[in-house]
């Protein structure tokens, strides 16, 4: 029992980080109907940037975010402008999948040239510190990471509901034609949406860098997991993605603790396949089957 509770705590903390990572992905899909396979690579890129700033400039990862986030935002807009926008509308959804995959490969390639393929990790003073709460161990880094994720998700939520561009993004997500007819420049909004999505990668990358060792190849594991989460949550649904992420974080940790970590890796996929049997539109998907 102790083991399970401990696993649930870990799972929730991990799930929070997953939620942050998946939010960017599902946002990009919502705004542009683009499955950004490069999101994992963007997260790893941010992790490397965090690492570099930490090792060479001594910047604490949480401070480094202030520099990296705007950078990633711009990079996201740039990627959208150069690679996604020129795709012909009718095959954008299909081609974007492959194009973003190529972007991921490119980022992986550049990272392995610059940083080699050895695993890196960011060891701050508090990396190994823990709290003991009623016999349960809480890793401080993970807790900070969780808090950061919650904070960023909160900011994202505020940005989407309280700002003009945020409303425009939601409008484009919910009804692109109508948004365009109301004078929303959908391409510009899409670029901002993509930028925001990339910006979430920066925070996710910072947390990732502190919690896990990573190398340029790590993005495969990340993206397979994130894609599963957003499909589980229903493509384009932010709330769905967050719930699915928490659920999966907990399920994975509990299974790893009680059964075996190798089989726990399959949790995501089994959950996904089961879901397909019951609800092909995802747990919280509002879209009809054909419209996904």
């Amino acid at each position: 029992m102790h083991l399970v509770v401990q696993a649930v705590i870990l799972g929730l903390l991990t799930g929070g980080v997953y939620a942050l990572m998946a939010s960017g992905l599902t946002l990009a899909f919502g705004v542009m109907r683009v499955i950004n396979v490069a999101q994992g690579a963007l997260i790893i890129l941010s992790a490397y940037l965090t690492y570099t700033l930490f090792v060479h400039a001594g910047l604490d990862p949480f401070v480094a975010l202030l520099v990296i986030t705007p950078g990633m935002f711009v990079l996201g807009m740039l990627l959208q402008f150069v690679f996604i926008r020129p795709l012909r509308s009718e095959d954008r959804e299909e081609l974007s999948l492959l194009v973003t995959w190529a972007i991921a490969l490119g980022i992986e390639g550049v990272l392995s040239v610059v940083f080699k393929t050895t695993y890196r990790s960011v060891n701050t003073g508090y990396t190994n510190a823990t709290w003991d709460v009623g016999g349960y161990t809480i890793t401080q880094v993970r807790f900070y990471g969780f808090l950061l994720s919650v904070a960023i998700l909160g900011l994202l939520f505020l940005a989407l509901t309280r700002t003009r561009i945020g409303r425009a993004i939601r409008a484009v997500v919910q009804n692109p034609v109508s948004a365009r007819l109301l004078g929303i420049e959908t391409e510009r909004v899409a670029a901002v949406g993509f930028g925001l999505s990339a910006a979430t990668a920066s925070a996710a990358g910072a947390v990732y860098a502190m919690v896990y060792p990573f190398n340029p190849n790590s993005h495969y594991d990340l993206i397979s997991l994130l894609l599963t989460i957003i499909v589980l949550g229903g493509l384009g649904s932010l709330g769905g993605a967050i719930l699915a992420a928490l659920f999966m974080g907990v399920a994975e940790a509990v299974l790893a603790a009680t059964i075996s970590p190798t089989w726990a890796k399959l949790t995501f996929f089994v959950a996904l396949l089961t879901l397909l049997l019951i609800r092909p539109q995802g747990l919280f998907g509002v879209k009809a089957r054909g419209a996904i």
Binding site: R33, D91, E93, A102, F269, R289
Partner: protein, 327 residues
């Protein structure tokens, strides 16, 4: 074309050239098979390499216990393996076809990871991360690569024949209709599910058979190599480069890319930039040649002759505005 390929090992008998030929043909088979579902039906499966791995493991498991003294036996069981994997792919296909477009791609990608994980986890069957060894084929050294080469050429010929047959058949018509507007095709009473599953199983079978030959050729099977996402991506890239939904495009893509890749890695791979280069080729193809070489060339030729395309669709009736808004 098949004749040229058949004569190749005799024209260029150097082992290293035939060796490259083996890999080229392997990818040609994969690309041709992927084209059935990804090109004709427009369903982008990113997980087909799971079936490649399935075939590789099937051949490895069936041959690994009879050590040595082997010649062509693995090739004989190949059709069986293909049929078995094709059958086995049906329920998976059925499950995956509950979704479309991007979701379908993600779900198939998931299949890939499931299979890779299974290959790692089912240690008693697959050897887990320690992999499986296949018997050493006892082919004469002088023509060592030829059995593999011709086995793959046979597969390619079958694949092309099926591909050609599908194009002219009701199955092909249904697949094209699915790609264009699945709901309408269904509304017209076309047997959409059946057609999709048939294409899926066919292409899965070819992936498995190619995987079987590959396993025998390399001699060892490890999960990360037998079920490597880059293999699917390679095949997909070749299809797009050569020309999606064309008969010869996938072959062309393979013929262009595989030797180039192998040779470049050999000559100047050390720079680590090959991934970047790969990505660049991919992006250029997607952005500049989204229709692939063959269709673009064909169009150019047609235009030069000043002939109007007789097959060009007539005036398009209104499309849903959803698509419009992105134009």
């Amino acid at each position: 074309m098949i004749g040229v390929l058949a004569a190749f090992p005799f024209l260029f008998s150097a082992h290293w050239l035939v060796n490259i030929g083996v890999f080229t043909l392997m990818y040609a088979v994969l690309a041709t098979a992927w084209n059935l579902i990804g090109g004709y039906a427009g369903y982008i499966s990113l997980g087909h390499v799971a079936f490649f791995g399935g075939g590789a493991y099937a051949i490895a498991v069936t041959t690994t216990h009879h050590y040595a003294a082997h010649g062509y036996e693995p090739f004989y069981v190949l059709p069986l393996v293909g049929a078995a994997v094709a059958l086995g792919s049906l329920p998976l296909g059925w499950l995956a076809f509950r979704t479309r477009t991007a979701t379908f791609a993600i779900v198939t990608l998931t299949l890939l990871f499931v299979f890779q994980q299974l290959a790692f986890n089912l240690r008693s069957l697959t050897g887990g991360s320690s992999g499986l060894l296949l018997p050493l084929p006892l082919f004469p050294v002088a023509t060592y690569e030829r059995p593999f080469y011709y086995a793959l050429l046979g597969l390619l010929t079958c694949g092309l024949a099926i591909s050609w047959w599908v194009r002219g058949s009701k199955l092909g018509l249904t697949l094209f209709a699915v790609r264009d507007d699945e709901d309408r095709a269904r509304g017209l009473g076309m047997r959409v599910t059946y057609a999709k599953l048939a294409a899926f199983a066919l292409s899965a079978g070819f992936f498995a058979m190619a995987g079987g030959v590959w396993a025998f050729y390399i001699g060892s099977v490890y999960p990360q190599f037998a079920i490597d996402p880059l293999v699917t991506i390679g095949a997909v890239l070749m299809v797009y480069l050569g020309g999606k939904a064309t008969l010869w495009g996938p072959v062309l893509g393979a013929v262009l890319l595989v030797p180039a890749q192998q040779y470049l890695a050999y000559r100047l791979g050390a720079s680590q930039l090959y991934l970047v280069g790969y990505a660049a080729v991919f992006l250029v193809v997607m952005l500049l040649l989204p229709r692939g070489i063959l269709p673009s060339l064909a169009e150019k030729i047609r235009r030069r002759r000043g002939r109007a395309d007789p097959g060009r669709p007539p005036a398009q009736v209104e499309r849903p505005a959803k698509e419009l808004v992105r134009s």
